[in-house]
Each structure stands twice: as C-alpha cells, then as structure tokens.
Symmetry: C2
Subunit: 214 residues, 2 copies
DNA sequence: AATCCCATGTAAAACGTTACATGATTCT
DNA sequence: AGAATCATGTAACGTTTTACATGGGATT
C-alpha cells in the first residue's frame, strides 16, 4: 500500500520553514552587523564557517541569496545603480531575522554531525594498500591539519577586537581550534596503531585476500 | 555547439577512474571476505562506515551496486533463481579489487575531511537564541554522542574475534572511538565557554528578535 | 490476521559542484 | 598594457535523498 510500512506519517514538517541548512547558514552570515556581497560572504565562509560547517560553492551562495530575497528574508541594493553586473550588497530583513531565530531556537535536536573523512576511508581499506603509503597519507594529513590550525588561530586573533554580536562566533572558532588540535592527536595515535600493526602482523607475502582468483 | 564554452580544457582526469567516493566505499564494503546483499551492506555501513564516512541511503547503495556490476567490478547472483525481486548477493571481482587497490594507493592526497556540524551552526548563531536553549542543545548532543560511543565500543568488542583482513577496519573503529571521546570533551569545554559568556556579557533584555510574534 | 522486518527497486526532486561567460577594477 | 583579482551570474551535470511501490517471511 502506501509508503513505508502502512502508516505513512507526514514526517513531521521539515520544521523551521523547510529550507536546507545551507540557506540558514547563508542567512546566518547575513545576520551579523553590516551588509555584504556574495563574494565577501564566500570569503568569510572559507575563513570561518568552513571549520565546523563546510563552505558552499560561490554559485550556490548566489543562488541562496536570490532565494532568500524572494522569500523576503533579505534585501539587496546595487552600488552603481544601473549596470547589469554591478556589485550587489545584501542585508537581512526583520522577517529574515525572525525566521532565522525561530529556526535556531526551534528544532530541538539539530541532528547528528556528519563527517566525511577520506583518509579514514583509505585506512579502513588498508588491506589493499602498501603500509608505507598509508603512513605517508596520515603524515600529510597531519601537516595539512596543522596548517588549518594556524588559520583558525589567526582568525581567533583577529576576533580579539570583537564586540557583542561576535562572541558566539568566537565560541565556535574556539571549538574549531580544539577540534583541530584533537584531529592532530587522533592522527598521531592512528599512526602508532598502524606501525604496531605492521610489526605484529607483517603480511608482506601473505595478502591471502588477494590471491583467491575467482 | 558542443556544450560548454570554447576553451574546454579536459580537467585533468578525476583520477583513479572517476567514480565518486561513495562508489569506492561500497566496493570497499564488498572487498572484505564474503558476499552480501544491498540490505546487509546498508546495515554494515550504519554500524561502522558511518562513524568516519557517512552511510549512503539504501536506494543509493542499490544504484551503486548496479553501476559496479556494469563496470565489471562486482558480480551478483540470486538465491531463489527465478523470482523478480529475490535476494541478490554481490561479490567483488578481481578487476574490482584491482581498481579499488589502485584508487586507494594512487591519489596522494585524498582531500581534507568535511565536517557538517548542525550544533555548531546553532552555537555560531547564538546571538539569536536564548542562552539556556543553547546549553540544552549541547547537553543533548553530549548524550547522543555517548550513545554512539557505546555503539562503536560494541562494534570493537565484536571485532575482537577478527582475523587478518579485519585489522584495518579495527584501526578505523579505534580512531572513531577516540574521535567520539574527544567530541564529548569538546562539547563539555564549549558548555563552559557558553556559561562564562552568560556571566560576562549578560544580554537578557536585548533579545529583540524573539518576541515579535506574527 | 495484522504487523514488523526483510528485500528490491523506480521516479522525481532537491542539492551542490564544475565549467563557462563576462566585464570592472586594481596591481605591476 | 597585461595580469590578477573582484564580482556576478547561467547551464549542465552528477549526486543523493525522499517518497512510492511491491511483496515474502517471521512474529505476535
């Protein structure tokens, strides 16, 4: 009969108005004092949002901005009045602020974090790889993470001059800093695990998984 | 008009064969001894892959399996020979194993991990929320994470009886265990930050956003 | 007998990225 | 003058989810 099982409950309203998280994230960027262009938003997302909630492609930011404006959650104005591709600055409206507040304040759970870690995918498949190569990948990952850590610390330093409205973003950045520190430690511990594994079960010739043909 | 523009450079081969990571993840599930159905794959992904690399929807798993079979990377057979929707079990082929090994061993970098953390998104927007609500969300997150931690530890216990081919998945699970422990600590530290923030900058009357009805 | 879990799939829609196109302004 | 960066947008494509459809087997 009807969908899953039989009952088919309406799946309790996506809540908050049904917009995807990305739309709320973009509206959130707009919720801080000042107006800004899509381009500026993208740079800001790269420098902060990205550490705890990924940075959408620039084309998607423009698309979300248009949608937010159509919904009345944002307004835009041009710098040079008439030109077709002139700079366009967006600002949040009172309606937008209310909608965002209701989204942030309502849905009690927010859902679990989603992590896509390509390195772990490779480690998980380690039985198909040369052990040395794996450890190399982990080392590269540690180096990259240290670089990101530096970026976050720079952002945090710049946030020192922050006022009122910026204290929560600062909490988020502090969380990101600790998160990256832990990411480094995690990778180092995994490196140890991989080395131990290389010593205990030295399967250079074995690879018995691979040699059963058909 | 052969499509996009004029220059049309070929974008240096997506490498490894051009399949999306999801396809490799599904093939990876198949790369461990034994054959299994899409349904079983989904359950397994929920129980382990999900902790470091998200679990695709069941419909996508079926789609990927068909694609892998079309590519010759997997074969399938039915249990009850003739029925149209009978159970179908998949197994990796030698070609599939070779392709997977080459994917895992080639692309040097693997790309940075992507984290989408809805809770942090809300904390970041904390200036729009009642402080108590925020702390409640964090507390719920801690509780859920502890639950996941228990799941991983169970999986790890079950993996105790593991042989050869399962040692790398075990490393990945151990990483996940530590990751979740750290997630709890991170959330607890953030809770402290939020409380400190409530004491230092007590903006109770501000909140102009929340009490406009409509 | 009804209900749940197993099991497989299709169709449509939403989401998101890449590539392309275009032009202004700023740096060298 | 040429290059880089600012700035906005469209088109096409691939991915991924949701909802729907269907039915067998086991449990209560």
């Amino acid at each position: 009969m009807a969908g899953r099982g039989t009952t088919q409950q309406r799946d309790e309203e996506p809540s908050g108005g049904g917009l995807p998280p990305t739309a709320w994230a973009v509206l959130g960027l707009l919720s801080f004092p000042g107006e800004r262009t899509g381009y500026e938003l993208k740079k800001w997302a790269d420098a902060s949002l990205r550490f705890f909630y990924w940075s959408p492609a620039i084309s998607q930011i423009y698309a979300e901005l248009r949608r937010l404006e159509a919904l009345g959650y944002a307004t835009s104005r041009r710098s040079g009045p008439e030109e077709p591709r002139a700079k366009r600055s967006y600002a949040i409206t009172e309606e937008g602020r209310a909608a965002l507040a209701s989204w942030a304040g309502s849905g009690q759970d927010a859902g679990p974090p989603v992590l896509k870690h390509p390195l772990l995918l490779r480690v998980w498949l380690g039985h198909l790889t040369a052990p040395g190569h794996l450890r190399e990948l982990v080392a590269e990952h540690i180096a990259r993470t240290r670089g990101e850590l530096k970026e976050v610390r720079d952002a945090l330093a710049r946030a020192g001059e922050a006022r009122e409205a910026w204290s929560h973003p600062e909490v988020a950045l502090r969380w990101s800093e600790r998160r990256l520190e832990s990411e480094v430690e995690l990778a180092e511990a995994m490196l140890d695990d991989l080395e131990r594994l290389g010593r205990t079960g030295p399967q250079p010739p074995g690879q018995r998984v691979a040699d059963s043909p058909t």
